[in-house]
């Protein structure tokens, strides 16, 4: 299998890439290519122009500071999974990265590419929503920041405009007495998430839940937030019962997908089970 014909450009700066995207409205951005190329080989996507940002300098790398962490769009899953600094501050993202595909896929796939592609079964979106990450997008009018809550619009659709390039992901600074975790039920063949949940929990001085933020992926057409569970946890003492009661509401109101891998009912069930596990792990890390 090989993709349909396309014009190929390899800019070396973000501005060059943006200019190319402005000129070629149907162009697609190519990063590691591990989401886009498979869809192009199956001819599900047939972009007439590819703008390969793989040679753009300065888009790969992780910086962890007191003010938060920044991850360049071209940073590979393998690099994220192996980052000790990142694991210390926010283990959910290194956990998610380590669970993506396999070693070869992690060596080549990038966080920016995965987020821009917005596959409903991708792992990062749940983490981005739970952690309150921000995406930096550069377009013809300059840079703007998009909060994760507004980034994932629908199936394979993000808030990015056709002429914008996602250049960086920013994670907020670590808060004392907070913890996060990502757990998923992977498809045994592809390792994509049949369902995946990321929980971020902050505790107050008495050890009760001060704030909860929970992102769900794999279950629906796009990653979403478990608002009811978040509300149910707030102010509560966190024990097995309260966590189970809150997690039981995680799939309420979700329009779960039904496909060859799992029925909507099964996905909804997985969401509640995984939510409880993610909260438990996050709480253990917050203490």
């Amino acid at each position: 299998m090989f993709p349909a014909k396309f014009e190929y450009y390899a800019p070396t700066t973000v501005n060059q890439a943006v200019a190319l995207l402005k000129k070629h409205r149907d162009a697609k951005v190519l990063a590691g290519g591990h989401s886009l190329l498979p869809t192009m080989k199956l001819r599900l996507a047939q972009p007439p122009v590819l703008v390969d940002i793989g040679k753009v300098k300065g888009l790969a790398g992780i910086k962890v500071a007191k003010g938060g962490a920044t991850i360049g769009a071209l940073t590979t899953h393998a690099t994220i999974a192996a980052s000790k600094d990142l694991r210390k501050q926010c283990p959910a993202i290194t956990e998610a990265a380590a669970l993506i595909g396999d070693m070869q896929v992690r060596n080549r796939g990038t966080i920016g590419g995965s987020l821009s592609h917005a596959d409903p079964a991708a792992d990062y979106p749940a983490v981005m929503i739970a952690l309150g990450a921000e995406m930096k997008a550069v377009g013809p009018k300059g840079a703007r920041t998009i909060n994760a809550s507004h980034f994932f619009k629908s199936l394979m659709t993000t808030a990015l405009k056709p002429s914008e390039v996602l250049t960086e992901v920013r994670l907020p600074p670590h808060q004392p007495n907070s913890g996060c975790a990502y757990v998923k039920f992977p498809n045994p063949a592809s390792r994509f998430a049949v369902a995946g949940v990321c929980a971020w929990i902050a505790l107050d001085a008495k050890g009760r839940c001060a704030k909860a933020s929970i992102g769900i992926t794999g279950a629906c057409a796009t990653a979403t937030r478990a608002s009811k569970t978040e509300a149910a946890l707030r102010g509560k003492e966190l024990n097995e019962e309260t966590i189970a009661a809150a997690a039981a509401q995680a799939a309420d109101g979700l329009d779960c997908l039904s496909d060859i891998h799992a029925s909507a009912e099964y996905r909804a069930h997985l969401v509640t089970v995984l939510t409880a596990r993610a909260i438990q792990q996050a709480v253990a890390r917050a203490k």
Binding site: M1, F2, P3, A4, K5, F6, E7, Y8, A10, L30, G33, H34, L37, P38, K41, L50, D52, G54, K55, A78, G101, D102, M103, Q104, V105, N107, R108, A189, S190, R191
Partner: protein, 166 residues
């Protein structure tokens, strides 16, 4: 057409290619390096694994142009001065193959893996090759071979060829 320049097994190549040419087809069809196989063609089976700047990558899921400026190593590039790489030798010695179709991919993945984890446990080896599928299900000897190569590389013992081997 677009200009490609890359290094494969230490040799610099330049070519004018169709942008949609995949790395695996460039290696196999243009350079004749058919040791790298195409298996599933959907980035799942790992038969097409090569090293791109030292990292194991599925070459069916990479445009040849994306490898521009990179150093590629294929299974043909592992043998040094007529001596097999310890992993090649260990696959031979431990019969780490049945039909052999997945073998080059398994070995290339293991080359990258052992660089990061020179003393792996059996569980770590099995996890590392999750992106390589052996449809003969010959995993037992593959894992044994990787373990044997790791031991030998860590000890840095000189290679001993079994008698009669060419």
């Amino acid at each position: 057409m677009a200009q490609l320049k890359l290094t494969v097994n230490g040799v610099i190549y330049e070519a004018d290619i169709d942008p949609r040419l995949l790395l695996v087809h460039y290696l196999r069809d243009t350079l004749g390096l058919t040791g790298t196989n195409v298996g599933c063609d959907t980035s799942q089976c790992g038969a097409c694994t090569v090293l791109v700047d030292g990292l194991a990558v599925k070459s069916c899921t990479m445009l040849a142009l994306q490898a521009s400026g990179s150093k590629i190593t294929t299974i043909e590039g592992l043998k040094q001065d007529g001596v097999y790489h310890p992993l090649q030798q260990a696959f031979w010695d431990n019969h780490g193959l049945q039909c052999g179709y997945c073998t080059s991919g398994m070995i290339m993945t293991a080359v990258d893996f052992l660089k990061h984890n020179p003393h792996p446990t059996e569980a770590e080896i099995r996890h590392a090759i999750e992106g390589n599928i052996c449809r003969c299900t010959g995993y037992h000897n593959i894992v044994k071979a990787i373990k044997a190569a790791a031991t030998q590389m860590a000890d840095n013992r000189p290679l001993q060829r079994p008698q009669g081997q060419v």
